[in-house]
């Protein structure tokens, strides 16, 4: 993905988040709406700070996105897939055998799954960054 496309995708995502936040606030869900807007502001601030640091490195002539970064990202992705499959398999096996039948909101459930996958990826990224 090129830098321009990455930037556009980021700002579209932030706009959608903020827009949904405003929509929720105006439709009687101020807690959720404020959370979304807060999240959008937090992510934007985090990204801007990170971009500033990266620009400083690039101005020095360093390349923060070198081949080692991609190797680490690849290893972290692979580890995330493997552990995700194992954890899900174990969860399904144990849950369907011993667990109670529960009804879930699919959107919430997908949200939890996505969060767990992202957290596992971040964990493995930092792990490989430490050992490599």
């Amino acid at each position: 993905m090129s830098e321009k496309l990455r930037k556009t995708t980021f700002w579209i995502t932030i706009l959608i988040l903020a827009g949904l936040g405003i929509w929720h606030i105006s439709n009687g869900l101020p807690g959720f709406g404020t959370g979304l807007i807060g999240g959008a502001i937090g992510v934007t601030a985090g990204r801007l700070i990170r971009q500033k640091k990266i620009r400083e490195l690039q101005n020095k002539g360093l390349n923060p996105y070198d081949e080692r970064t991609y190797v680490i990202a690849g290893k972290a992705s692979y580890a995330t897939i493997i552990s995700g499959v194992l954890i899900s398999g174990l969860f399904i096996l144990l849950g369907s055998t011993f667990g109670p039948t529960v009804s879930v909101n699919p959107y919430n459930f997908l949200g939890y799954c996505l969060s767990i996958i992202v957290l596992i990826y971040i964990f493995f990224y930092y792990y490989y960054n430490r050992i490599m």
Binding site: L57, L62, N63, D66, E67, R68, M132
Partner: protein, 67 residues
């Protein structure tokens, strides 16, 4: 794979950052290479050898059975 990066860098009074800039990588990559934690691609190995103006074999020491 062992390498002589630190030795070559010290001989030329270069800092890790100087080498990183010349090879077009991050300083963290140079640190990992010097510690032997990371094996570079052939392109990076070539770039590093070119910085020191010597051959790849003079920078990286490959021993049988390492792969």
């Amino acid at each position: 794979m062992e390498n002589r990066l630190k030795e070559l860098r010290d001989e030329r009074n270069m800092t890790q950052e100087d080498l990183a800039v010349k090879a077009g990588v991050s300083r963290q990559t140079i640190i990992s290479l010097e510690k032997g934690k990371y094996n570079p691609s052939i392109i990076l190995a070539y770039k590093l050898a070119r910085v020191f103006q010597i051959s790849i074999e003079d920078v990286f020491i490959f021993e049988e059975g390492e792969e």
